[in-house]
């Protein structure tokens, strides 16, 4: 297992949390980059990698929060494992099925993190933050899949102008 790309993914998470999160947030709704990267790793890589990468990515994400907890790391690790199995068992091929998996995964990730944090107004936060956040992350994932599958390319964009 080449470890360098995963370290770069972890740096990407830290970079996003520190610099891009506020810039890309819309009305306080931001992209859940940790869940997105973990799910992409789960879709394209093996089970053990998804499990361990989810755990370490969860630790990195939790370290960026105000108070450091290890439980988000466990949740993110579980997300990686679940996404891997969901993807393999259901065996979807289309972009939309991948997006469905991403949406459900990100939403559940938000949900469990909120449960662990245990703040007041759980359903309100779910409605205001988790659901729009999952939608926003899914939209970003959609563009990612379009690029990965070659539906958006430099030549195609160039041909438009």
């Amino acid at each position: 297992m080449r470890i360098l790309p995963y370290i770069l993914y972890l740096f990407l998470i830290a970079f996003f949390e520190v610099i891009l999160k506020n810039l890309t947030s819309i009305y306080g709704v931001s992209i859940n980059i940790t869940a997105l990267i973990v799910m992409l790793v789960a879709i394209y890589k093996s089970e053990v990698i998804s499990l361990w990468f989810g755990f370490v990515a969860g630790l990195v994400m939790a370290a960026g929060a105000v108070e450091f907890h290890v439980l988000p790391a466990l949740i993110t690790s579980g997300l990686g494992l679940t996404a891997f199995h969901a993807w393999r068992r259901l065996n979807f091929e289309s972009v939309y099925s991948k997006l469905l998996v991403v949406f459900i995964g990100v939403f559940l990730h938000y949900l469990f993190l909120l449960l662990v944090e245990g703040g007041a107004g759980f359903f309100f936060v779910v409605l205001v933050k988790a659901l729009p956040g999952a939608v926003y992350t899914t939209v970003v994932a959609y563009f990612f899949f379009l690029i990965v599958e070659g539906r958006i390319s430099y030549q195609k964009i160039k041909s438009l102008f």
């Binding site: 361990w52 990195v60 370290a63 960026g64 450091f68 290890v70 439980l71």
Partner: protein
């Protein structure tokens, strides 16, 4: 040994999950040092470079904002300084004009040039005084250097001054020392000249030329210019005298209209 490797191969996923759960339990329930060290390692390893980057970027933005404000202040200060310098120059000119005395029978009406009309050189100017200030056509205009011209047209608030540099303007003049007379006019090719001066008249470079008062427009004694060159051609009845105007027509700003006392 083979049993262990078989078990590991069969339950490898559960083993990984168990390791992760044990690690989590260690961090969660173990000594606080582990928790702190892990947090600091992640912050230092992954977050610190970006915190530095963000802080640097924010500092850059603040500096850029400060820089823009300072530049604006600098422009404002430069403008203020140039205004002060202009005021200083005006002050110097007005101080020079302060001790200036009008000829007997006249008093001075100060005026400011608001427009200059040029044809190769300034030929007329508009001043901010007019009929409302009891000025009339043909009143002489001077500054502290000497004769400038006369009022050629007038409106209630403004007056047009025909300068000596206008070729159609003539001044009856005389040499201050010898009192011999001629007519000062301006020629585009030669500049200011003293015309109709006797061929054997007493005149030399450096002599001062003043108005004679005979034309009826300019009072006597106003300095018109200085003799630069004298050409005596025996075949002609008059000599040609080139003059250096007393006033610099390219830098006139404050002028004085000579108003007769009876017209006060």
């Amino acid at each position: 040994m083979s049993w262990i490797s078989t078990q590991f191969a069969r339950h490898w996923r559960n083993i990984h999950i168990t390791i992760i759960v044990l690690l989590s339990a260690l961090v969660l329930f173990g000594p606080p040092t582990i928790h702190t060290v892990l947090n600091q390692a992640i912050i230092g390893g992954f977050y610190y470079p970006f915190y530095r980057l963000k802080a640097g970027w924010e500092l850059l933005l603040t500096e850029a904002e400060t820089n823009a404000k300072l530049q604006q202040s600098l422009i404002e200060a430069s403008l203020q300084i140039s205004l002060y310098e202009e005021a200083l120059r005006e002050n110097a000119r007005l101080r020079a004009a302060l001790g200036f005395e009008p000829p007997p029978g006249y008093h001075l009406v100060p005026a400011k040039v608001i427009s200059v009309s040029e044809y190769q050189l300034p030929v007329s100017v508009i001043i901010n005084r007019g009929m409302r200030d009891s000025l009339t056509v043909n009143q002489p205009v001077i500054n502290q250097e000497g004769l400038i011209g006369r009022i050629s047209e007038i409106t209630p608030d403004f007056a047009i001054v025909q300068l000596l540099t206008d070729p159609s303007n003539r001044v009856a003049a005389r040499v201050a020392s010898s009192r011999e007379m001629g007519i000062v006019k301006y020629k585009l090719k030669e500049g200011m000249v003293l015309d109709n001066f006797p061929l054997h008249g007493t005149i030399a470079p450096g002599d001062t030329i003043i108005s004679s008062g005979l034309g009826g427009v300019y009072p006597p004694g106003l300095i018109v210019g200085t003799v630069v060159k004298v050409n005596r051609d025996e075949s002609k009845p008059f000599c040609r005298v080139n003059l250096q105007p007393a006033a610099n027509f390219h830098s006139i700003e404050e002028l004085f209209v000579l108003k007769p006392d009876y017209n006060r």
